[in-house]
């Protein structure tokens, strides 16, 4: 039995949307070095749509794979849909994570939420509509 599903390993080995968006209008960073996983999400939102998303992650295999999968799930989507993203959806899209690794997928959800809030406070545009 492998530690992770093939999907997880694929996203871990070839993470999608890695990097930085220089003119991002929503940035969220969650986690801390104490617990071992840190995720940073960069969003470029235009007309209520997440036009671009990139991430940087310090963390384990499932943290990197969750970040990568989460970016794929939200890219090109309207903000109000993105707001609904749950860590369960991220984990399911990865064909599951080991129980003790679920907290890593929670970080992906939280990083996106933090980035949306940052967008709201920068632009004054509500993310609740």
């Amino acid at each position: 039995m492998a530690l992770y599903s093939e999907k997880v390993m694929d996203h871990f080995r070839n993470p999608r949307n890695v990097g930085v968006i220089e003119d991002a209008n929503g940035i969220g960073e969650v986690g801390n070095a104490k617990c071992g996983d840190i995720m940073k999400m960069y969003l470029k939102i235009e007309n209520g749509i997440v036009e671009d998303v990139k991430f940087e992650t310090f963390g384990c295999g499932s943290a990197i794979a969750s970040s990568s999968m989460a970016t794929e799930l939200i890219k090109g989507k309207p903000v109000k849909e993105v707001r609904q993203l749950t860590n369960k959806a991220v984990a399911e899209a990865l064909d599951g994570l080991p129980d003790y690794k679920m907290h890593c997928s929670v970080l992906a959800e939280e990083a996106i939420k933090a980035a949306l809030e940052d967008y709201q406070s920068r632009t004054g545009i509500s993310i609740d509509e």
């Binding site: 080995r13 890695v18 070095a33 617990c35 996983d37 995720m39 940087e56 963390g59 890593c104």
Partner: protein
Amino acid sequence: MIYADNAATTKMSEAAVRTMVSMLEEGWGNASSLYSHGQRAKEILEKAREDIAAVIGAEPREIYFTSGGSEADNQALRSAAAFGRRKGKMHIISTAFEHHAVLHTLKALEKEGFAVTLLDVHENGLVVPAEVEAAIREDTCLVSVMYANNEIGTIQPIREIAAICKEKGVLFHTDAVQALGHIPVNAEDGFDLLSASAHKFHGPKGVGFLYARKGVPLTNLIEGGAQERGKRAGTENVPAVAAMAAALQETAGHMAENAAHMTAMRDRLIEGLKQIPHSALNGDAEKRLPGNVNFCFEGIEGESLLLLLDDKGICASSGSACTSGSLDPSHVLLAIGRVHDVAHGSLRLSIGEDITEAQIDEIIAAVKDVVTYLRGFSPIWRDLVAGKKEFIL
């Protein structure tokens, strides 16, 4: 594949496999039976006891076979504690970076009323004998200090500590699971109790032994038949014990040449990894096991490092939280003062006797690649490089 996780377990030697298979075929009798087939098993068992005793300069009757290192640690501590309790001595001294087989037993003993002092192991991962002496109280019944640490490989001043304990009349236990077969270990060192495990020296898993100096009273963990002089019940796993003896004789027989080769390879690996910026060796550079290399790399996390090394055919381990399944990184790295941020980025490479220079160079190149790659999208690394955070290493 380059197997660099010999501190986790080792491959059985050919001699050990051969012995085990032939004993499974011939020596399968019950060593307690009186007919000759059973007595043959008994002979094999006792021959193994003699061979093992000879390697560590002990008497055969001082060797008690167990299911491995964990059981031996548990029994050593429980025996000394029971002896102490009978004399009203309920204080135990150990160290902050022992194996969990020791630390968790101490936790249990604390709940049963014992007081435990865990000594500092300092930045270099070494216990200071004078601090052992200073910690000994009137009511101290046991000092337990591992021979060599399983994560950072540091070799402790066992003889000095044993001499202090002897003078103070306190029992001294050492967990020699990582040391035996790799560096000289002998009853002359002065320990009263010692734990060993076969699978760390090319023997089978699930077998080990407890050495107890003559006169040290043992307490049973497992009650039942009269095996092991009544101190450890259960029909003996004769093939595994015989294979353990064969493995130990072989590693001990080649110890000097193996250690010379491995030390040279270890130091080449350390030199190579030091070239990676913002990295640091964990544990003393000299007083360490010939096969142990342990580094921290700032800005990256250990599990992703291990997975990518695995993709390159290299087996290693890490003390990061995400590899242990808990939120805290290795207690050993924390004990030598590594902060969480850095401890998560640790890598242990424990090389074997047959490692080659070409393999060492392959490991160095692979680790450099992977560390650089992971730093490339680490938000911590970005902040460090941008000067928003200060480098620790």
